[in-house]
């Protein structure tokens, strides 16, 4: 256990080295937040409330998603794929730890740094610029924390599987583009899933991608209460377990393929 704690700290520090990248990333996230916020302000001049989202909700949604993109690494995360390409993976696999858990621990370290460096600044700027108010109820924040922890697990499980595809296809750029599209679209990153058309909405909400972004945001905005909240968290637990299990199966298959050149 202690080993994984150390690995998590290691993941935090490794991400923290790129401080200027984090800063400029936060600036870009904030800028896009402003563009999207102005779009919502103009759109809401014609409607008061859409799918349970008021303008205030939509603005909060905008700046939270801008911050969450880096937290759940929705755009690009390919360190395992790169270790397969360089051959480093052979050394990592022979270490005395659980390969998947070791990466998961490091990913939590990475996520914690991104929460501080990338998620918080856009939200704070957005709150100041557009008067966004977040809930003060402690229960909401406890549920949000839990939901974020689960969101990172689901997203990691998904990225772990994607990375392992490099055992079969060396070049991950094509997979990268297409998987990013799927994740960005179905996570409810761009438009709240609550605003999607009836029929489609329920399906999208049940997919693993909603568990990465949409559910934690709805929890934070207080859209999910009581039984609905518990059901949403249960769905996240389900996807976290399912994705991590799938990752183990893919890893086992990949190890059958791995041939290490000696010398």
């Amino acid at each position: 256990m202690r080993l994984y704690w150390e690995l998590a700290k290691c993941g935090f520090r490794r991400t923290a080295i790129y401080r200027s990248a984090a800063l400029s990333g936060a600036v870009t996230n904030t800028f896009f937040g402003f563009l999207r916020a102005y779009t919502f302000i103009a759109l809401y001049q014609t409607r008061g409330e859409v799918g349970g989202y008021t303008l205030e909700d939509a603005l909060a949604f905008t700046f939270i998603t801008q911050g969450m993109a880096a937290l759940v690494a929705i755009w690009a995360w390919w360190p395992i794929a790169e270790s397969v390409q360089t051959g480093q993976v052979a050394a990592d696999l022979s270490r005395p730890y659980d390969y998947q858990l070791a990466w998961l621990a490091q990913d939590y370290g990475r996520a914690l740094f991104q929460l501080i460096a990338r998620s918080t600044p856009p939200l704070v700027v957005g709150m100041l610029a557009f008067g966004i108010v977040l809930p003060t109820d402690p229960l909401t924040w406890i549920a949000t924390t839990l939901s974020l922890v689960l969101a990172v697990a689901v997203s990691f499980g998904w990225r772990f599987c994607l990375n392992l595809t490099t055992f079969w296809w060396i070049d991950h750029r094509g997979i990268s583009n297409i998987s990013m599209l799927v994740a960005v679209l179905f996570s409810g990153f761009l438009v709240p899933i609550a605003m999607w058309p009836d029929g489609v909405r329920e399906v999208v909400y049940a997919l693993p991608f909603a568990s990465m972004v949409a559910i934690p945001i709805d929890v934070l905005l207080g859209k999910l209460q009581g039984v609905d909240l518990l059901a949403a968290l249960a769905l996240q637990v389900f996807w976290a377990v399912a994705m991590l299990t799938l990752g183990r199966i893919v890893l086992a298959a990949a190890l059958h393929k791995l041939v290490v050149q000696g010398g």
Binding site: S20, A21, S24, G25, V27, T28, F31, F32, F34, L35, Y38, T39, I41, A42, L43, Y44, Q45, T46, R47, V50, G51, D171, R173, G174, I175, S176, N177, I178, M180, L181, V184, L185, L190, V191, M195, W196, P197
Partner: protein, 263 residues
């Protein structure tokens, strides 16, 4: 110019060697911007219009901006890779060749897979035109064509200025992304939705208003709530050339200050 064509032809034939990989990446590039378009459709099934602009009219802005950006990204993406050239020391090689540095970097990294973005712009523009009932005339066609070319030139000038800054910073500043990728997002919506400061900046400092908004006003015969002189709607090519000249001056200044990283 002849050199530029020769260099590009060599790169295209090199990239087409790996056909499957090329096809997947081109499709990926097509889909990358497709999410934004789906977002637009999702929003417009819930909201009737934005600042008085209908779906067809906003799609027209989207198509114009996307096409201009796509062309620039396809033909002039080399400037995005300058940071790597400086870090690896390969820019020194550019300096000792008896050809201008500008043309060499321009043609240095033409990723033909980015044709996917251009196709996406064309598709979006086609979609917009199918929804709109435009009374076409010779001046309108001239404005449309010149706006696409001018838009590509304006985006290229931004890449060039961003690249010129890397002569001092070495790392590509992510701030450039705010103006390129962020710029593409910005010009996809009607200008009046943005706050005054943002509007002024993107009119008088970085002239993105000339990429889509002003030409679209002319072609769609819409009134301008911003009250800019109507003659500006025809001025995109002039502004683009002037802005490119500014970029060339920045470039020349940057090259003169290039010192190498010593690596």
């Amino acid at each position: 110019m002849g050199l530029y064509v020769t260099l590009i032809r060599a790169q295209i034939s090199a990239q087409l060697q790996y056909r499957a990989s090329f096809a997947i990446q081109a499709v990926g590039q097509f889909l990358a911007t497709f999410t934004d378009f789906i977002m637009l459709l999702l929003l417009f099934q819930r909201f009737p219009s934005i600042a008085g602009w209908t779906l067809g009219e906003v799609a027209f802005l989207y198509g114009l901006g996307g096409l201009a950006f796509g062309i620039s990204d396809l033909l002039c993406g080399g400037f995005d890779g300058l940071s790597k050239m400086i870090r690896m020391g390969t820019f020194d090689r550019v300096l000792i060749r008896p050809v201008g540095t500008f043309a060499q970097v321009l043609a240095g990294d033409v990723q033909f897979r980015r044709v996917g973005r251009v196709v996406q712009g064309v598709v979006t523009l086609g979609f917009a035109l199918s929804l709109l009932d435009i009374a076409w005339s010779a001046p309108k066609i001239a404005v449309l064509v010149s706006a696409i070319v001018a838009g590509a030139v304006i985006f290229t000038a931004i890449w060039v200025i961003g690249a010129a800054i890397t002569f001092w910073t070495v790392e590509t500043s992510e701030v450039t992304n705010v103006f390129t990728y962020g710029g593409e997002a910005l010009v996809s919506y009607p200008m009046p939705i943005y706050a005054e400061g943002i509007r002024r900046f993107f009119t008088y400092v970085v002239p993105l208003v000339f990429v889509s908004y002003l030409p679209a006003l002319f072609i769609l015969e819409r009134p301008d709530p911003l009250g800019l002189p109507p003659v500006l709607q025809l001025c995109s090519p002039i502004v683009a050339v002037a802005f490119l000249l500014v970029a060339r001056v920045c470039w020349a200044f940057g090259v003169r200050h290039y010192q190498g990283t010593g690596s």
